[in-house]
Every structure is written in structure tokens, then in C-alpha cells.
């Protein structure tokens, strides 16, 4: 469904040209849940924006259902990393969530229902009258998530959406995303810095190298589909995968499109690896 072909993005500035993405090629099938990790500044946000049709790539292209993405395609929701700035200060929480629904013309009642439900699942039922600037960072971020959830998108791009929420809420939101994904068959691309999350959440994890960025590894997460915070996370396979991703991320800090022209690997690492925490 989502095809990224040879994507390159160079930011040109007055004194500073940055090749954020060197050469990215990967494919996300319909209904997949893919996590994206990579060093800070490697171009994850840039990639997401290109995929959302918000940024024109320097070279290469993104295709959605076979059609090149030139502008934001319908049925796609994005949760931005800069959650605070992506909320409209002049609207209260409810309106912020309801706004994208307006043009769907679902009728007042259905719209209300969707908004209420979305706010409830992110734990903000009490705050629907508040304005974004009256909320804490984590609450703002959850409003942005609620907006995407209420929108019922076919494709969901999330850029570090749980960075500002506490561990408990984070776990709940992770399960929420998996539930949505199951129920609605959404295609999800999820950027995160949390390795546990990257392993726990998806079916695949894409690991990017540092900038100029290439895909360093395309890892299939072979955990059972039925996941659960307590048991999945304590399974040996989880620990193995986790350790592997951790190692790859450490490697990514030194590896880039310049240093190693190795082919993109789509393997599944099997050997057990060192664990981060011991029980």
C-alpha cells in the first residue's frame, strides 16, 4: 500500500545544506503496523512528512496504493512530534478533535460520539472544555492522538506520539493503538525512541541509520499477535528482539549512508542477545 522508492531529501538553506535522507526504499503492506526507530536527527520526521505529502522529496517518490503522493492524501492522519504547535490555540480540546471530522459530514450525533469516545480512550473526558495551553504537555499530546483516533483514518502516521506521557498511560495507549489497528485494519507507521515500544507494538521494525540516512535494518517482529503488557514483555523472544534492536541502534549512531553501503537486510535475528534489565 505505502511504497517508498529511492527517497532522498536535501534541505537547502543559506549556510547549511543537509542531506537528511539519502536513499530510502521500503514497502508497507495494507493493514501493517510498522515501527520506525533511528538516531535523533536521522530523518524520521522528514520521512513521515514526505509520506504524508507535506514535503516534496528531492528525489524518489512515495506511492500510496500505487498512486504517487503529491499532497496530503485523504484518509490519512498524522500525529506530529511537535504536538503543542499542532493544536489550535483558539479552539478548545473538543473542537480541536472535532475539526477534521467536520468535512466528513457524519452528522452531529456521530461526530459527538466519535469525539467523546476518542477523548475518553486517551483519558481526557474531563478536559474537553479546556484550551490546549491550559493542559500539561502529556495532555496536549493525548489531544493530538485523540484527534487522529477520532478521524478513523486508513493510514496513521505517528511521530513519537507517546514521548510526553507517563509509563502507565503509555502502556494503555500502546494497547489502544493495537486495538484500533485490529478493529479498524488501519495501516500504521509509528516512530518511537523507546525500544521496548518499538518491539512491543508492531509487526515490523525499521531501523534507520544516522544521517545521511538509509534503512539499516528491516526487522520482522515475530511475537504472537495477542500481546499483553505483562506477558509479552516478559517473554524471552521479546528480550531477544529488544536486545537486537538496542544493538542496532547503537550501531546506527556510527553507521550511515556514507560509512557502509551494505544492502538492506530484511532478516530476523535469531541469536539471543544481552538483556537490558535483569529480573
Amino acid at each position: 500500500m505505502l511504497d517508498v522508492q529511492d527517497l532522498q531529501k536535501i534541505y537547502t538553506g543559506r549556510h547549511r545544506n543537509v542531506e537528511a535522507l539519502r536513499n530510502l526504499t521500503f514497502h508497507i503492506a495494507e493493514g501493517e503496523l510498522v515501527c520506525l526507530v533511528g538516531p535523533s536527527g536521522c530523518g524520521k520526521t522528514t520521512l513521515l512528512k514526505c509520506m504524508a505529502g507535506l514535503l516534496a522529496p528531492t528525489r524518489g517518490e512515495v506511492r500510496l496504493d500505487g498512486r504517487p503522493v503529491a499532497g496530503p492524501p485523504p484518509g490519512m492522519a498524522v500525529v506530529f512530534q511537535e504536538y503543542g504547535r499542532s493544536l489550535f490555540a483558539w479552539m478548545n480540546v473538543r473542537d480541536n478533535v472535532a475539526l477534521p471530522l467536520r468535512r466528513k459530514k457524519l452528522g452531529k450525533a456521530r461526530e459527538r460520539e466519535l469525539v467523546d469516545h476518542a477523548l475518553e480512550v486517551v483519558g481526557l473526558s474531563d478536559a474537553h472544555e479546556a484550551y490546549p495551553w491550559q493542559l500539561s504537555g502529556g495532555m496536549q499530546q493525548r489531544v493530538a492522538i485523540a484527534r487522529a483516533v477520532a478521524y478513523e483514518p486508513k493510514v496513521l502516521l505517528m511521530d513519537e506520539p507517546f514521548a510526553a506521557v507517563d509509563a502507565q498511560t503509555r502502556a494503555e495507549l500502546e494497547d489502544l493503538i493495537r486495538k484500533l489497528w485490529h478493529e479498524l485494519g488501519v495501516t500504521v507507521l509509528f516512530v518511537t525512541h523507546d525500544i521496548d515500544e518499538a518491539v512491543y507494538l508492531g509487526q515490523r521494525t525499521l531501523i534507520l541509520s544516522k544521517s545521511p540516512t538509509v534503512v539499516q535494518e528491516d526487522l520482522t517482529i515475530d511475537l504472537p499477535d495477542e500481546r499483553d503488557q505483562l506477558h509479552t514483555r516478559s517473554s524471552p523472544r521479546f528480550a531477544e528482539l529488544r536486545a537486537h534492536v538496542y544493538e542496532q541502534i547503537q550501531r546506527a549512531k556510527h553507521h550511515s549512508g556514507d560509512t557502509a553501503p551494505d544492502p538492506v537486510i530484511a532478516d530476523r535475528t535469531i541469536e539471543p542477545v544481552l538483556q537490558k534489565t535483569e529480573s
Binding site: P72, F88, W90, R102, G123, W133
Partner: protein
């Protein structure tokens, strides 16, 4: 999912929620502001009262405040004054309304279409500095001393104030907010209405405040020069007759109109921009 902590506190109505340094503004912000404003005006009156008694300027040409106010009192008793005031307010109100509506509409259209913006920029810069006074003969030629000739001048002058502010405001939109709107496919109208317009609103408010006084100034000037009925005409007659206190009394009236306009604008702003940094800081904190 459980609800996180959000406990509305209803028991404590008047909080002391002000940042260090921004004290006590909370306890009835309106009366305090009004009192301060009156203090400022009182200071001005005092200066104007004392000035003519100094050697700086003779009371013949700048009457003391008390005399101006006394003259204003007699003016207020005359029906002609009220007709003139009515005429001025009509011209001003209509002209301002037309200018604001046209300025906002044109600004929004031009501001939301980059090509239009590029194409019109030079023309706008060319037309703006053409003084309305140079248009007086044209206005008289077309409409005589009719209300319309007043309107022509008023609209021409205040239109630019609005459009320039609208254009600048629309440019101020946060790229992330803009991206959000685009990714949720808000459409041109949706983006204008929900993103660009609220962003521009603080600028527009300033534009309207500027335009309101420019419109008032042009209304009076048109009356003064062309002789269309209104306060300006009264000023002209008083000037020609050498009735200095009358002139100042009338000028004072125009000044007070300006103050009233500003009060209204501030009241609107408190409502329309309650979410904006500038207002929320002062109202809440």
C-alpha cells in the same frame, strides 16, 4: 482507561493566580484599568490647564482645558452639534464597515493564494501612499459634498490599513499548525477559517483599530475640506471664525470618539482573542 487528574475547583472563585510581578490585576481588572485610564486623562487635562498659563503658549491660541470643557458644555446643548455628530458617525461607521469588510475579504483572498500575493504586492505598495487629500478633487468631482464623497476618501484611506495587517497576519501562521490542517485535508476554506484567520486575528484587530481612527480622521478631514456636513465642517467654520475654544472643544470630541473606539476594540479583543498569549496572560495570570 482511567481519567488523569483534573479536578475542577469550584470553591475558590478569585484566585491569586498571578505571576510574580504581575500582581493584583485579578481583583476586578476592569475597574482598575478604568481608574488608571482616567488618571491618565486627568494628567493630560492638568497639563493642558497649566500650559496656557506658562509663557510657552498664549491662552488665546491654546485655551486652558477648563475653557475648552466649558465650551464643550455649551456645544452639547445645541442641536446642530448633535446633527453634526450624527453625520460624522454615519460617514465614519459606513466607511469603516466597508473598508474593514473589503480589506479583510481582499486580504484573506490574496493572503491565501501565494500567486495573487506576488502579483498584487507591487500594486498595493504603489496605491497605498497616494494621499487621500490628493483625491479630494476627484471625490468632489464625482459626488460633490454627498456622503459618498466622504465615503470614497474614508474607504480608500482605511482599506490599506486593514489589508496590510491581514496580509501580515496570514503570513504569521505556524508551519506545524498549517501542516496539521493540510494533513487533515481541511481544504482552502477550512484552512482559512480555522487556521489562517485565527492566526491573523491579532493583526487584524490592530488593523481595525488603526483603520477606525484613520476613518475618523478622514471623515473629519473630508468634512473640513469639502464641507460635507459633520463635525469637521463645524471645526472649519469655527476656525474661519477664529473661535478658538470651539475648535478645541470639537477636536476634543473627535479625540473622545477615538478613546471610545479603542475601548470598544479592547472589549472585542478580550472576547475574540481570549485564547491568545497577549490576552490570556493579562486575564488569567
Amino acid at each position: 482507561m482511567t481519567s488523569p487528574g483534573l479536578t475542577p475547583v469550584l470553591a475558590e472563585p478569585a484566585g491569586t493566580d498571578s505571576g510574580p510581578g504581575g500582581a493584583s490585576a485579578r481583583r476586578g481588572p476592569v475597574p482598575v484599568a478604568v481608574l488608571r485610564g482616567l488618571a491618565g486623562l486627568a494628567g493630560l487635562v492638568a497639563v493642558l490647564e497649566v500650559l496656557p498659563h506658562t509663557s510657552l503658549v498664549s491662552a488665546d491660541y491654546l485655551p486652558p482645558a477648563s475653557e475648552t470643557v466649558r465650551t464643550l458644555g455649551t456645544l452639547l446643548a445645541e442641536p446642530t452639534f448633535w446633527t453634526a455628530l450624527g453625520d460624522t458617525l454615519t460617514g465614519w461607521g459606513l466607511g469603516l464597515a466597508v473598508a474593514v469588510v473589503a480589506g479583510v475579504a481582499a486580504g484573506v483572498v490574496i493572503g491565501s493564494v501565494p500567486v495573487l500575493r506576488a502579483v498584487t504586492a507591487s500594486t498595493i505598495e504603489f496605491l497605498r501612499p497616494i494621499p487621500s487629500v490628493a483625491l479630494i478633487p476627484v471625490a468632489v468631482l464625482l459626488y460633490g459634498t454627498d456622503l459618498r464623497s466622504k465615503l470614497l476618501l474614508v474607504v480608500y484611506a482605511s482599506f490599506w490599513q486593514v489589508i496590510v495587517q491581514v496580509l501580515a497576519g496570514m503570513q504569521d501562521v505556524d508551519p506545524v499548525a498549517e501542516d496539521t490542517a493540510r494533513s487533515y485535508l481541511l481544504g482552502t476554506w477550512g484552512r482559512v477559517r480555522h487556521v489562517l484567520w485565527p492566526t491573523a486575528l491579532p493583526y487584524v484587530m490592530t488593523g481595525v483599530r488603526l483603520a477606525a481612527t484613520v476613518a475618523l480622521i478622514l471623515t473629519i478631514t473630508a468634512e473640513l475640506v469639502i464641507g460635507a456636513p459633520g463635525l469637521g465642517h463645524e471645526i472649519a467654520v469655527a476656525q474661519v471664525s477664529g473661535a478658538v475654544p470651539e475648535v478645541y472643544a470639537l477636536v476634543l470630541v473627535t479625540g473622545l470618539l477615538g478613546v471610545a473606539v479603542n475601548l470598544a476594540a479592547r472589549a472585542v479583543e478580550r472576547r475574540a482573542l481570549h485564547w491568545h498569549q497577549s490576552v490570556r496572560r493579562e486575564v488569567t495570570a
